[in-house]
């Protein structure tokens, strides 16, 4: 019974934390990009606009909920829910802290022996919500957006999956916790031996979350809003939250698989001084780093065209990922022999 209680409490804490994190990620985005563009970003609601995300959320909730008359209503309602659900379901498998973290209760909701596979699998179901939304709107811009989106996500999923195979081979496990432990044991984070996979993974991750410069499914200058053009009010908010939750997911996986999750950097040097800092702080810092890179990229780069995006995915990233996988497995085989 205690086990169940602990799990429920953890779910509540993590859900609350992630929801807040997603909301404040929008704030972070506006602030960071604002300062990069020599302006201030939100300043009015609260101190330095700190309450802006809450105001935005409230606004979206009380907005009129429009369902286009020609749409497939049930599917139209279902689509953002699917997207949102799968974006948040993934956090079940992400270790925010080690097994001893969270005051001994374990810094994760569950540690499955194929955790990483589940994360990738569940994330891939989120696509259904996007294509469903585009289709159910019964409008052309959303349709084009959703078709683009599916083509993009399916193609980059392949390269992404192959890229994380490298660290999996090194760790010998698909469990997220085991992967971090393997990095601890090895004494070096996996982004060093797997630098190619790391770069491929992050590029694919940016593409997977439909962010600049791969934000084609929602390229506002071409497709107005892409698959969520017809959505308004809270349904739009669900899509929005799902996108930002996915950003955090991708960053969290990158932090776990390549940057040693909750581990402290340079434990031999810093260990004696910084051991009081709990693991999830390190984890949060690493996630924050990736999120910052996301925003940085968005402020810097123009957008790719669709065919160019596909060419990068299939012609550059995929062969590179396969080559990386082959080389890694040969080296491991050699070392084992």
């Amino acid at each position: 019974m205690e086990f169940l209680l602990v799990v429920v409490v953890k779910i509540v804490i993590i859900l609350a934390f992630i929801s807040l994190g997603v909301a404040y990620l929008t704030y972070l985005e506006r602030k960071v990009i604002g300062h990069m563009q020599v302006r201030l970003g939100p300043m009015r609601v609260g101190w330095h606009g700190l309450l802006q995300p809450i105001a935005d959320g409230l606004k979206l909730v009380i907005k009129e909920d429009i369902i286009p008359t020609q749409s497939d209503k049930l599917m139209f309602i279902l689509a953002p829910v699917i997207c949102f659900l799968h974006a948040f379901l993934v956090y079940t498998f992400i270790p925010f802290d080690g097994p001893k973290g969270f005051w001994g209760y374990g810094g994760y909701i569950s540690d499955v022996n194929v955790g990483l596979l589940f994360i990738v699998a569940i994330a891939s179901v989120g696509v259904v919500g996007i294509i469903l939304g585009g289709w159910a709107s019964n409008s052309k811009y959303p349709l084009l957006g959703s078709l683009r989106s599916v083509a993009q996500l399916v193609s980059y999923e392949v390269a992404m999956g192959l890229a994380i195979m490298g660290p999996i081979l090194l760790a010998g496990s698909l469990s997220m916790v085991d992967i971090v432990k393997a990095q601890e044991k090895m004494g070096v984070w996996f982004f060093v031996p797997q630098i190619v996979a790391f770069i491929i993974y992050f590029i694919c991750g940016v593409a997977e979350t439909n962010r600049a410069p791969f934000d084609l499914p929602e390229a506002e200058s071409e497709l107005v809003g892409g698959y969520h053009t017809e959505y308004s009010g809270f349904r739009f908010a669900l899509y929005f939250l799902a996108e930002y939750a996915n950003m955090i997911t991708v960053s969290a996986i990158a932090a776990t698989v390549f940057l040693g999750g909750w581990l402290m950097p340079f434990p031999s040097i810093l260990g004696p001084y910084l051991s009081f800092i709990p693991g999830f702080v390190w984890f949060a810092l690493k996630v924050f780093f990736f999120l910052f890179v996301y925003l940085w990229i968005r402020a810097t780069f123009p957008r790719y065209r669709f065919d160019q995006l596909m060419a990068i995915g299939w012609k550059i990233l995929l062969p590179l990922a396969i080559a990386n996988l082959l080389v890694t497995s040969f080296i491991i085989l050699y070392l084992k022999m």
Partner: protein, 172 residues
Amino acid sequence: MAEIIFWSLSVIAVIFAFMVILSKSPVRSAISLIGVLLAFAGLYLILDSEFIAGIQILIYIGGITVLYMFVISMMRFKKINIETQFTKQWLVAIVSALAFLAEVVYFALKGKEFFKVGNHSKLVTANGLGTIENVGKVLYGKYVLPFEIATVLLLAAIIGTVLLAKREKEKM
């Protein structure tokens, strides 16, 4: 506990399966299919086959069903007209469905005599039928030849599709 989950998942799977056939909109059918596949993934999980469950979701939902939906949304049907069929296909369908049902009932009652489950129980109990190690060992050990043949078949299919698509493009 496991029994309750098993039965509820089975019922969900059957309900969704009916919805796949009965719904008028192809997209709704596809969504129902996702429900069926998810229920199956759950069934795999209670068999301690996490890997198979994950693959089920990744390949069948994330890959194949999404492709179905891709094609369906490309063809924008207004509504599929439910017209009286004159081909009498429903007769054949009912007959074959009844035959299949009879088969299932028969094996459910007498199945144990044909498939000796006991022989495989070692695998199930040891560390799960569907763990990565076991799947890998079986796939690259005992069944390596069929596996390789299947991959060649798939490769041939891919090449064939590309060729067909390309020829059509040239015609344009």
